[in-house]
C-alpha cells in the first residue's frame, strides 16, 4: 500500500507512441504485400503464371468470387465443419480433462496413450475414417474432431491439476459439497488453460481443414483449392489462400479476445 505511482507519460508522448505502435503493424502488411508483388514480378511462380499469382490478380479474383458467391459457397461449409467438430471436441474434452486433471491415478493411467495419440496426424486415420463413415462430411468432421481434442484435453488437464490444495481445503471448511467444489473452484481454475487449449485447437483444426476437404467433399475451401488448380485459375487459387489465411486470423483473434476477457491472471 502507498507505493508511489509510476510517472505517467505525457499526453503528447502517449499519442505518438499510439500512432507508432499502429504504424508498424500497417507497415508489416504493406511489406508483406510488396514481397508478394515482387515475387510475382520476378516470375518466382513460373514464366507463364506469375501474373496470375500477383496480389492485384488475387484482389480482382476475390472481387469476382465475392460477386458470384464462390466465397460464401465454400467458406460457409468449411466454417460449419470446423465449428461442429470443435463443439463436439469441447463437449468431450472438457469433462475428460477435468476428471483426468483432478484424479492423479486417472492422469497416470492416460498419460502415455494421450501423449502417443496426440502426435499422430489425423490424416493418417483418413482411410479408417472413410471405412467407418464413408466419403463425405462425416469423415471430415471426424478427422477435425480428432485433431482438436488433444490440445483441449491436455490443457484442461493442466488447468484442473493446477487447483491449489489450499482452495480445496478452504472450500471444505466452508461446507462445500463435491458439486460446489467442481463448479466454483475446479472449473473456474481451469478456464485460462481451457481457453489456451481452445486457441490451439482452433489453429490446428483450421490447418487440417484444407487437406481434409481434399478427400472427396463437394465444397469447402480445401475442395476449392483443387478446383481452381484444375481450372488453371491461379488468381482464384491465390484469392482462396488469402481467404483461408484471413478467416484463420479472425478465428484466432476471436480466441485471443476470449482469453483476454475470461482468463483470470495470477
Amino acid at each position: 500500500m502507498g507505493s508511489p505511482e509510476p510517472k505517467k507519460t505525457s499526453g503528447v508522448g502517449k499519442g505518438v507512441s499510439f500512432v507508432s505502435e499502429r504504424l508498424f503493424y500497417v507497415l508489416g502488411i504493406v511489406l508483406f504485400l510488396l514481397a508478394w508483388q515482387t515475387a510475382s514480378w520476378m516470375k518466382v511462380f513460373g514464366e507463364n503464371f506469375s501474373d496470375a499469382f500477383s496480389p492485384l490478380a488475387a484482389l480482382l479474383a476475390l472481387i469476382e468470387m465475392g460477386k458470384n458467391g464462390d466465397i460464401v459457397h465454400h467458406a460457409l461449409p468449411s466454417l460449419r465443419r470446423v465449428l461442429i467438430s470443435l463443439s463436439l471436441a469441447v463437449v468431450v474434452a472438457l469433462p475428460v480433462g477435468v476428471l483426468v486433471g483432478y484424479f492423479k491415478r486417472l492422469e497416470q493411467l492416460t498419460y502415455v496413450p494421450f501423449q502417443f495419440m496426440r502426435m499422430i496426424s489425423p490424416l493418417a486415420w483418413m482411410p479408417i475414417a472413410i471405412i467407418i463413415f464413408g466419403v463425405g462430411d462425416l469423415s471430415v468432421t471426424f478427422l477435425l474432431w480428432l485433431v482438436a481434442i488433444w490440445p483441449l484435453i491436455l490443457n484442461t488437464v493442466h488447468g484442473a491439476g493446477r487447483v491449489s490444495p489450499l482452495w480445496l481445503n478452504m472450500a471444505k471448511t466452508m461446507g462445500a459439497k463435491d458439486r460446489g467444489i467442481l463448479t466454483k473452484i475446479i472449473i473456474p481454475a481451469a478456464i485460462p488453460d481451457m481457453l489456451t487449449g481452445l486457441r490451439l485447437a482452433v489453429g490446428v483444426s483450421w490447418i487440417i481443414l484444407v487437406p481434409a476437404e481434399m478427400l472427396g467433399v463437394p465444397d469447402g475451401l480445401g475442395y476449392f483449392i483443387l478446383d481452381t488448380r484444375d481450372r488453371f485459375r491461379y488468381d482464384e487459387l491465390m484469392a482462396t489462400i488469402f481467404i483461408i489465411g484471413l478467416i484463420g486470423y479472425l478465428l484466432d483473434s476471436a480466441n485471443r479476445w476470449l482469453i483476454s476477457r475470461f482468463a483470470w491472471k495470477i
Binding site: L166, N169, M170, M174
Partner: protein
C-alpha cells in the same frame, strides 16, 4: 500464572469446546518415525483466545491442521463440542499462512463464496452479509478489486472476511499475520480482537511472535522441538490492550514480564529436547 508440566491440565470441564487427548502425529522419516506432535493434552474453553507459540518445527501448524481436520492424529483424540473430529467442518474456519483467495473472484465475490456453498446460490442477502464483513475488516473501498491488485495486508483482511462471514464457532489461524509490516499488523491485531469480542468465537492462533501472543491471548501454549506442550501460561493482562491502556507503566511492566517468561520457555524448548526420535 498457572504452570502445567508436560501439558497435562485439569480434566475436561463441561464448558470445554475443544479437547485434545494425548494427540500424537508421527511421520515416517528415513528408517524411523518422527513425532511432529507428541502426546498433547489440552482443553480449550468456549470463547477462549488461545495462542500457540514455539520454535519452528515444534508441530504448532500440524496440531492446528489436525484440529481443522485436514490431518488425522496417529494416536489420541480430538473432540470438538464433545464429538470427535472426522474431517474439515463448517464449525471450524481456518485462515491459512498463504492466501487462499480465488484469483478469478473480486474481494466481494471471494467473501460471498462460503455463503454460496452453504446456500447453493447467490441471493441479495448474501451480498449484504458479505458487505458487512468486508466493512468489518475495513476493505469496503476495495470490494471490486481482484486479489492480484491487493497488497499483502489487504489480502489478509480479505481472507479474514472470507472465513468470518461463514460464522465459524472456532477460528483456526495459522500465522495469519506473518510477513506483514508492523503498522498493518497492529491494525489487524485490534481488528481480530474486536471481532472476537463481537462474535464470541473461540480462536486458536499459531504464531512465532511473542509480542503478538501476549497482546492477543487468554492463554499461551508453548510447544517445544519434540512436539510436546512444555508449558501453558495464563495471560491475565487486562483488556483492552491497545492504544492508551498499553502505555500505562504497570501494564507495560506486566506485559514485558509475561513475554520474558514465555521467551525463556520457548528458548528452553528450542534446544535438543528429547530429539532422540529424530535420529
Amino acid at each position: 500464572m498457572v504452570d502445567n508440566k508436560n501439558g497435562t491440565l485439569r480434566s475436561s470441564t463441561p464448558s470445554a469446546q475443544i479437547s485434545l487427548k494425548g494427540v500424537t502425529k508421527s511421520f515416517l522419516k528415513g528408517s524411523g518415525r518422527v513425532e511432529a506432535v507428541s502426546n498433547c493434552t489440552l482443553d480449550i474453553a468456549e470463547n477462549e483466545f488461545l495462542v500457540i507459540v514455539g520454535p519452528t518445527g515444534s508441530g504448532k501448524s500440524t496440531l492446528l491442521k489436525m484440529i481443522a481436520g485436514f490431518e488425522t492424529p496417529s494416536s489420541g483424540e480430538i473432540l470438538v463440542g464433545g464429538k470427535p473430529v472426522m474431517g474439515p467442518g463448517v464449525d471450524r474456519g481456518m485462515i491459512f499462512q498463504e492466501y487462499a483467495l480465488l484469483p478469478w473472484r473480486t474481494v466481494l465475490q471471494n467473501v460471498e463464496l462460503g455463503l454460496e456453498f452453504q446456500l447453493g446460490k447467490r441471493t441479495p442477502q448474501i451480498r449484504e452479509r458479505a458487505m458487512k464483513y468486508i466493512d468489518m475488516v475495513g476493505l469496503t473501498y476495495a470490494v471490486n478489486k481482484y486479489p492480484v491488485e491487493l497488497s499483502g495486508g489487504m489480502k489478509r483482511r480479505a481472507s479474514l472476511a472470507m472465513i468470518l462471514v461463514t460464522k465459524p464457532r472456532i477460528l483456526l489461524m495459522d500465522g495469519p499475520f506473518n510477513a506483514l509490516d508492523s503498522k498493518t499488523k497492529l491494525t489487524l491485531h485490534s481488528e481480530i480482537t474486536r471481532i472476537w469480542e463481537q462474535e464470541h468465537n473461540t480462536i486458536i492462533f499459531v504464531t512465532s511472535e511473542l509480542d503478538e501472543a501476549v497482546k492477543l491471548s487468554d492463554r499461551i501454549v508453548v510447544m517445544n522441538k519434540a512436539g510436546r506442550i512444555s508449558k501453558v501460561f495464563a495471560n491475565n493482562l487486562p483488556r483492552p490492550r491497545f492504544g492508551k491502556a498499553a502505555l500505562e507503566p504497570a501494564f507495560h511492566h506486566r506485559f514485558i514480564e509475561l513475554r520474558e517468561a514465555v521467551m525463556d520457555e520457548v528458548k528452553a524448548g528450542a534446544g535438543k529436547v528429547n530429539c532422540a526420535a529424530d535420529f
